[in-house]
Symmetry: C2
């Protein structure tokens, strides 16, 4: 068994086991803060020795914080590619963190709601992720951790610019607030393009489920603030909160229209998804995400009552390749991954 | 309720309720003989009055044959378009018979295995259709009927050419022997093109399920003799029999290869078909035929044990548009036909 699985388990993240406010439309809310230690080179410029010093300094700082005693320390030099991907698939770390090199580590809370990445792009990235629409709560958590850490280490800060970061797009607050929304209704009513356009005009960005440069999969969109400068943290979080609320309202309207005018088409899509998920012997990742999206819509609209939304949320993570491999406890040949995925889906659906 | 349904019922043809030899691959075997009355114009050249005379003459002749007393007489002037299509969908009459104009009628046996069309392209077309691979039996039946009719009326016959027919491609024996085969294996192993080429070289034609000019649907192919001249009836039937036997052997080999080397792919196709057939709320005709084809393959390969092959054969007829309308006993709006089809499929599948 993977050492990582021994540390954090393979249930796909306990925060996924609960639903939150507006769970039918909002998958998760996330806030991350970028911080760097004063008088140290940024991670990408630092030699391995200096990177190690950063890891040691942050590790020592975190371990001194009374509220962070529960966090597990995971040294990336002891993880293989698959284990890093596993953490990324479960939203414990960023895609950049999973893909990059260098001396890296992450602190992770047992419920996986809180993580502190060390030597990602910045020395420190504090992330809080929560199920459903809980953006302010996520912000409060990162803020508390930031305060605690700030008492124990010196962050690079300029009176003119605010917090200094490796990439200028993060300078200032270093804050990225994002909400992952499920918008099958706006897609089916063909209103999604104008909705996305509106979001972009309001200083927010729309991305795929794993952030910048990733595809929109299964009708999921990540909405986050464009700028980190020029507004305080409350303002930035509030803006994303407002825009996400508006999208939630639009999606609700769209779903209402679907139920009223195209109920049979929706039932057809949901029924086919359930039929294929339950009977296919091989399921590709992209197809599975699209089918789970349809099933999720069916659950939210009350067309399918057998499955709770949290089961589908967990499945969305469990069908990812590294989760399939680490959960099965064995190396899976590329040609047979789709078969293993179908088995996992069918076992989960049959259990209820 | 339609008058036609009152006469012949709506169970899709009783011959479909039985399977025959090689039922896993051969859907049906059919022989038809074209005959014309001497000294009468061919149907397409005849005025309505003369067409009527032909109907009366054939009707009187058939009714004098002791073995044909059970046949129902159906006057086409009393059928609407939908009822004609219903007969065509159930293989009781040809596509040309359903589509054409003029004074027409058909005699039909209660089990729908025997039909005598009047004023199709020729004055008389005797057809025998049987489930599975029973081409010689079908030939014997048409031959017996031909003998009986020949004793009671004069057929146009030339010593040089044999039986005279409206279209020169039928002159001679007036015989068309055809076998409808289900070849999903040869399609999945990509051997179908060369198999079809071989058939064509051996003086046989490959057509869709409703004969000339119709599409190949659901992996079903109709194999029939090209020429009706130059060989006696036994020889013509024997040739189609041999070629169909060879195709059956090839399809068996292909299915063996699939099971041995691509079992999971086949199970996937069959499972998905079952999942969609069982859960979709709307099913188009072409998609349904393709899904039923996959399910039929699954039944034949022992991957699905719940459904007998005859259920699937009957469904292939029952999902056709005129069958859906006449069975439901009401006019179905075009936009809702796919929904009715899904209901019919699911009711049939749930019954077992």
């Amino acid at each position: 068994m993977s050492g990582l699985i021994q540390i954090i388990g393979n249930d796909g993240g306990t925060w996924l086991a609960a639903d939150g406010p507006e769970a039918g439309i909002v998958f998760s809310s996330r806030v991350r803060l970028a911080r760097n230690l004063v008088s140290m080179l940024f991670a990408s410029k630092a030699a391995p020795g200096e990177q190690k010093t950063v890891v040691a300094a942050v590790k020592s700082g975190v371990q001194k914080c009374p509220s962070l005693g529960q966090l597990a320390f995971i040294d990336f030099s002891r993880l293989n590619k698959r284990e890093k991907r596993f953490l990324m698939e479960g939203y414990c770390i960023s895609r950049e963190m999973a893909a990059g090199d260098g001396k890296r580590a992450v602190f992770l809370s047992p419920d996986r709601e809180l993580s502190i990445m060390i030597n990602e792009e910045d020395h420190i990235r504090v992330q809080s992720i929560l199920p459903g629409f809980q953006l302010r709560e996520a912000w409060q958590r990162t803020n508390t951790v930031d305060d605690e850490l700030g008492e124990r280490m010196d962050f690079a800060f300029s009176d003119k610019w605010g917090f200094l970061t490796a990439c200028p797009t993060n300078v200032g607050t270093g804050l990225r607030a994002s909400v992952m929304v499920h918008l099958p209704g706006l897609i089916m009513t063909r209103e999604i393009a104008s909705a996305v356009q509106t979001v972009s005009r309001l200083r927010c960005t729309v991305r795929g489920i794993h952030g910048e440069g990733t595809d929109i999969t299964g009708d999921f969109f990540q909405i986050s603030n464009q700028a980190t400068l020029g507004q305080d943290e409350e303002g930035l979080v509030g803006n994303v909160q407002r825009i996400a609320s508006e999208l939630v309202a639009q999606e609700k309207r769209a779903r209402g229209v679907l139920l009223e005018r195209h109920k049979m088409q929706v039932e057809d899509r949901v029924g086919r998804a359930l039929g294929i998920l339950g009977r296919a012997r091989m399921l590709g990742l992209e197809e599975t995400m699209s089918l789970l999206s349809a099933l999720r819509l069916g659950v939210c609209l009350g067309l399918v009552s057998r499955y709770p939304i949290t089961l589908i949320n967990q499945l969305m993570i469990q069908v990812q390749p590294a989760h399939l491999e680490l959960s099965s406890g064995r190396e899976i040949e590329p040609g047979t991954l789709d078969g293993v995925r179908a088995d996992v889906v069918q076992e989960a659906l049959a259990r209820r």
